[in-house]
Amino acid sequence: MNVASRFRTLPETGDRVQFTLDGAPASAPAGVTVAAALLAHSGAWTRQTVKGAGRTAYCMMGVCFDCLVEVDGTPNTQACMTLLREGMTVRRQTGLRDLNGGHCG
């Protein structure tokens, strides 16, 4: 866990899950959502709007769409609605997704 995050996780009791964020190794407690993992990791922006403004998870209940990231190659995935799994590849998202599944930036 990145100690710089403004967010604290609940007391950890069990296993941790390994994933990568933009290619760098990271980990989070088992059973959390991708959004919770990203907030605990650094709390920094995880997507940029079309105009370049930084955003990250906000509502944590599938409504605000500010937590969109690329998960295992699928862009625009709602991180707060996705459980973190071992070995997941998470990428921060810049701008809109493309038709071919990638995203610009």
């Binding site: 079309v50 625009n76 701008g95 809109l96 997704r97 038709l99």
Partner: protein
């Protein structure tokens, strides 16, 4: 002292009412717009943003020409809105396609366009493309598309920004738009003018009244002696997540908004005033989109809704002056986007009787008289 011009009240603050209001304001009139409740059936908030002419009026020449007039008036109109409101409605007129997967429907539409072209004469600009022609011209069209028509004049705008631009333009021109003012009855007064009874009991007085209330016009039209009966037609649509790249086409059923999201729609159903979306139709729309352009299969749908079109008995606009009550007008149509440039210009002249508008005579409601008498 300068005499004040008579006030005109527009009942209905949707695309049609605001367009008419803007036209009258630009002609120097004093105008008040009464807009109903949020929960009303608001076609203007569910629309597809198309500026479209293909097939329209194939069996009614005045409508074919009226629509063509509107298509060619859009560029100047969009600029006018921008000047008045500061809002760019994102007008784009790249020409548009109708895609077909059924050869019989394709042939039937081809016949309609040929008939429409006779009405339009030299102004007709369209072509019919076979599925293979289409696939050789444009990448990504699915193998099950049997053909398409293409017309040079079609375009689209951002639908909600257009509604906002109209309202802001009306306010810039000094029009007063009153929200939450549902008119429940209109009472023609013995000495001229009209008393408008609002749902909350308040009564407003006006010299002239233009009824642009969409589906809300049903009972109010009778108060003014009009016999036109409008009916709701349900259309459903899907909205996808926003895409960074652009679709290579505009069609009447699949269009990409300037902000990147794709609208998929165009269904027609009679469901009364029920505007709920339905799973079978949503599934049919998604299937159609993927058949036409298979790359959409991977794109998420993020919203779906139904909205009610405003249909006259024959589907064409109605522009009627009350014969019983001078100064009372009925304006209704289901193409409030496409026809807006004319509703802000020619229609204002017709209401004010400031110039001859022979092209509007065909849209009087007297064309329904026989069927009602039967």
């Amino acid at each position: 002292m300068q005499q004040r011009t008579q006030e005109i009240t527009i009942i209905g603050g949707g695309l049609v009412g605001l367009s008419v209001a803007l036209g009258l304001l630009m002609a120097g009139q004093r105008v008040r717009v009464l807009d109903g409740a949020d929960s009303d059936a608001r076609a203007s908030q569910g629309n597809f943003g198309l500026i479209w002419g293909q097939g329209k009026g194939w069996d009614f020449a005045p409508y074919a020409n009226w629509t063509m007039d509107a298509l060619t008036a859009w560029p100047a109109f969009a600029q006018q809105l921008r000047d008045l409101s500061g809002i760019d409605v994102a007008l784009d007129q790249p020409g548009g396609y109708e895609f077909f997967t059924d050869p019989t429907e394709f042939d039937a539409f081809k016949a309609e366009l040929a008939q429409q072209a006779i009405h339009l004469g030299k102004r007709a600009r369209y072509e019919m493309l076979s599925g293979d022609d289409l696939r050789s011209q444009m990448q990504g069209i699915g193998p099950d598309v049997v053909g398409a028509s293409f017309s040079l004049y079609e375009g689209h705008v951002n639908p909600l920004r257009f509604l906002r631009a109209l309202r802001c333009s009306v306010q810039t021109m000094g029009g007063h738009v009153r929200l939450g003012a549902t008119v429940s009855a209109i009472r023609p007064q013995p000495k001229g003018g009209y008393a408008l009874v609002l749902a909350d009991g308040e009564t407003l007085h006006t010299e002239q009244v233009v009824l642009c209330a969409g589906l809300g016009a049903a009972t109010l039209a009778r108060d003014l002696g009009f016999n036109t009966q409008v009916r709701p037609q349900l259309g459903e649509l899907l909205i996808t997540e926003k895409l960074g790249d652009r679709l290579p086409f505009l069609s009447s059923t699949i269009r990409q908004v300037d902000e990147g999201g794709v609208q998929i729609g165009g269904t027609k159903a009679n469901a009364g005033l029920n505007d709920h979306e339905t799973l079978p139709i949503m599934s049919k729309l998604a299937h159609h989109a993927v058949t036409v352009f298979p790359a959409l299969a991977d794109v998420r749908v993020v919203r779906a809704w139904g909205a009610l079109r405003v249909m006259s008995p024959d589907g064409y606009p109605v522009y009627a002056k009350s014969s019983m009550h001078p100064g009372a007008f009925l304006v209704t149509c289901h193409s409030g986007v496409t026809l807006a440039p004319l509703h802000t210009s020619v229609l204002a002249e017709w209401i004010l009787n400031t110039s001859a508008t022979p092209e509007l005579e065909a849209f009087d409601e007297c064309r329904f008289a026989l069927s009602h008498a039967a």
